[in-house]
């Protein structure tokens, strides 16, 4: 079947199998930042934005993206660059495999709530698993970014 969508700002038309998952569609279209970490919608690694809302691309058929706008981290490099350096300063990027999904969901958080409390940050990002960092450094990094803006 044919789908038309906007991917990272460009209109594209693609012929796809009806059972193709969005995550595989995106990786086929060179959006390699989108990672698969499980088969049960538990890890958050494959988070992308559909019409601005964070979704798990492993749990959506590519066909459902027809007519919609998808952003992956490839398309939001500038917006991400504004804050990821603060995470790097904490060393919390570690293995990096969860980073793209985590960064995408952080972008969604900051768009929705530009001045979140620590509790709001933890709640919003609780679906993004990380096995390396112990999470505390991620919180410090986001907090340092928010504090730098206020200053």
């Amino acid at each position: 079947m044919e789908i038309k969508l906007k991917l990272n700002g460009s209109n594209i038309v693609r012929e796809i199998a009806p059972d193709l998952l969005l995550i595989d569609f995106l990786r086929d279209n060179k959006c390699f930042s989108v990672k698969r970490g499980c088969e049960t919608s538990n890890c958050g690694l494959c988070t992308v934005l559909m019409d601005g809302t964070p979704i798990l691309s492993c749990s959506l058929l590519a066909a459902r993206a027809d007519g919609h706008e998808i952003y992956t981290l490839e398309g939001l490099q500038e917006e991400a660059s504004a804050f990821v350096g603060f995470l790097a300063d904490q060393g919390t990027d570690q293995c990096g495999f969860c980073n793209p999904g985590f960064v995408m969901n952080t972008i969604a958080l900051l768009r929705e709530n530009p001045d979140p409390t620590d509790e709001e940050i933890l709640q919003f990002l609780s679906g993004n698993l990380c096995r390396c960092s112990g999470y505390e450094g991620q919180l410090r990094g986001i907090r340092a970014f928010l504090d730098s803006r206020e200053g």
Binding site: F32, S33, K35, G37, C38, E39, T40, N42, C43, L45, T72, L73, E74, Q77, A80, S81, V84, G85, L87, A88, D89, Q90, G91, T92, D93, Q94, C95, G96, F97, C98, N99, P100, V103, L122, Q123, L125, S126, G127, N128, L129, C130, R131, C132, S133, G134, Y135, E136, G137, Q138, L139
Partner: protein, 763 residues
Amino acid sequence: MEHKNYNAINKSVRKKDSMQLLLGKPVYTEDITPKDALIVKLLRSPHANAIVKDIDTSKAKLIPGVVDIYTWEDVPQLRFSNAGQTAPEPSPHDRLIIDRHVRFVGDPVAIVAAEDEASAVKALKLIKVTYDVLEPLLDFRTAKDNPILVHPEEDWKVPSDWGAFQHRNIIASEDNTHGDLEGVMADCDIVLERTYHTKQYNQTPMETFRTYTSYDRYGRLHVISSTQIVFHVRRILSTALGIPKNQIRVEKPRIGGAFGAKQTAVCEVYPAFVTFKTGRPAYICFSRGESQIAGSPRHEMEVKIRMGADNDGRIRALDFYTLSNTGAYGEHGPTTVGLSGHKSIPLYTGGLEAHRFAFDVVYTNTLAAGAYRGYGATQGVFALETIVNELAEMIGMDPTAIREKNMVKEGMLMPAYYDETANACALDKCMSRCKELFDWESKYPVRDMGNGKVRAAGVAMAMQGSCISNLDVGSATVRLNEDGTYNLVIGAADMGTGCDTILAQMVAECMDCTVDDVTVFGADTDASPYDSGSYASSTTYITGQAVVKACDKLKSQICEIAAGMMECAPDEVIFEKGQVRSISSGKVLSMVDVGIKSQLFNYVSPEATAMNTSPISPPPYMVGMVEIELDKITGKVEVLNYKAVVDCGIPINPALARIQTEGGLVQGIGHTLMENVTINSKGKLLENSLMQYRIPTRLDMGKLQVEFEHSYEPTGPFGAKSIGEIVINTPGPAITHAIYRATGVWHNELPITPEQIAMSINN
């Protein structure tokens, strides 16, 4: 402790790969696998113990897109071990690529190679297997001398002897006593005897097991894999396929986490075999489910301790026996078990007069265990720290005071740790600082919150090593470029831990340049100098010292080139501030001058390689304290605060050392409260997804706070010891202690689930 103003080390610089990783660049195995690679899938046994009577692949092979299917009849009859360990390997050679005798639920029975995933998956369903189903051996407590023999095969062998008895299901055993154990026990006021049990925890790195293989333009097998051990993978493939090592090249791209899981060649052999047979590129990617049921998890252990002590809290004798379940294959079985005693008992060197450490490691028909951060020490520390807490509570002594009375201190000889001396040990300072940080005096008393919830605290200490002494080898090559920058080439694997960065910091410190001046490449068996790999907490300590040695060599070669340029003898110049100065004339040459000259009519190499090893393995030490809130109705435990103070010598990069600690603590919290492993009566592992195997989210770990107390390890690079593993060891015993404080019940098995807590209170 040595104080010095450093240029590049002891500084929290960003990881060299941070921006690539945070911005989602394609740097992992799957990202760089070409689209034309064959997709490799494994058909797995539904039985825990069975012989494949008949296997019919004819229908499956008819599916368009299926290239070939291999069974036990097609593979080389060469037994090997998947363990990434230095040869002669301690782990038995007990595997075939596909064995007719399947030994756990998930053991592969066929390899499918197809043009695409859908065809491969379809083929799996059409392979018809008839099994001769045998009774499985599932309980490791009954494995020794059980009539069910997990490995009856005649070609089973052990490359080195660790006390294996194949026909008793034992792959390693030992029994060592130091001092007059029974005499001291008999003289003690109290003898406490307890048994502890921990399960096959899964490392659960976010990137599952995956490997890409192809024939390169030299006609050799080229392997790109998410691995900690490129050189060991090369040896394992060479053994399994029966081809020379120089016909194999193994490299790792960025690794999406490992924690020891990728110190075993869990998946490499399958695509390698497909490429070997078809000549075509091949790719395998384990699903999360496969990684759970057929990965390489922590060894399940049962630790029996008999402890002799006096009423004043002096711990005088320890009798320690560990039974370890290696599962269906022996990877890391003979070695992990040793750490359960060797890296726990020495914590109590202070008052200990005698000890015994004995163990057996047994086969069962469950998934094979492997290496997991902590590597046996985690299991041993849980047992020993819990019995010490019980003793303290029993005699009414503050559990921090009983440790202060008995703990190892700097300068002590440790008979339970290979007679090594604690050269650098700030464990006492870790304890006093942690008490202060945690506010132990006010948090230790149990506080009833008046709403069915109680708050309580617990404490534990831990140690680990900084390498495998007399064994691990690390190497580094440092090269000066003509613009004054450097290349560092290593065989150690950065799996997210930041070793590329900390080793570059060491080059920058030695060569008086910036960290940005140093580019790091690794690891690649064709390009890297030999390194046993990134495991056993060895990279900072072993490879780090190789970096220092390589820089020393390079500096003298640079001086030689510069002396030639200044027409004087090499001993008339010195390397300082990143330049070479002539002592007599005061003339100075920059690294650009020397670098350019090195490529022009020059005999002296601007590149140096050094190798390093160590006869000792200096332990890092730490103290962890936890505050929990426990709901007495539901049994739910909430971790409120976890404070840890670590002595890892001089931290090369404090930010990365802190993240290592925080990450380890949260994995430990997961082990203790939520990560369960259940094998049903048929041998099936039930927690086969992240839905069932619940690793901590950011709502499960409370507030973490980490600090460092410095010691200076004279044999380490810039005084450094290790950090990677020790940090997972304290949550088990500390939380168990806090749960006792809240409920009055000691739990001797991890994890401790809310159900168990609620039931224990009602009982």
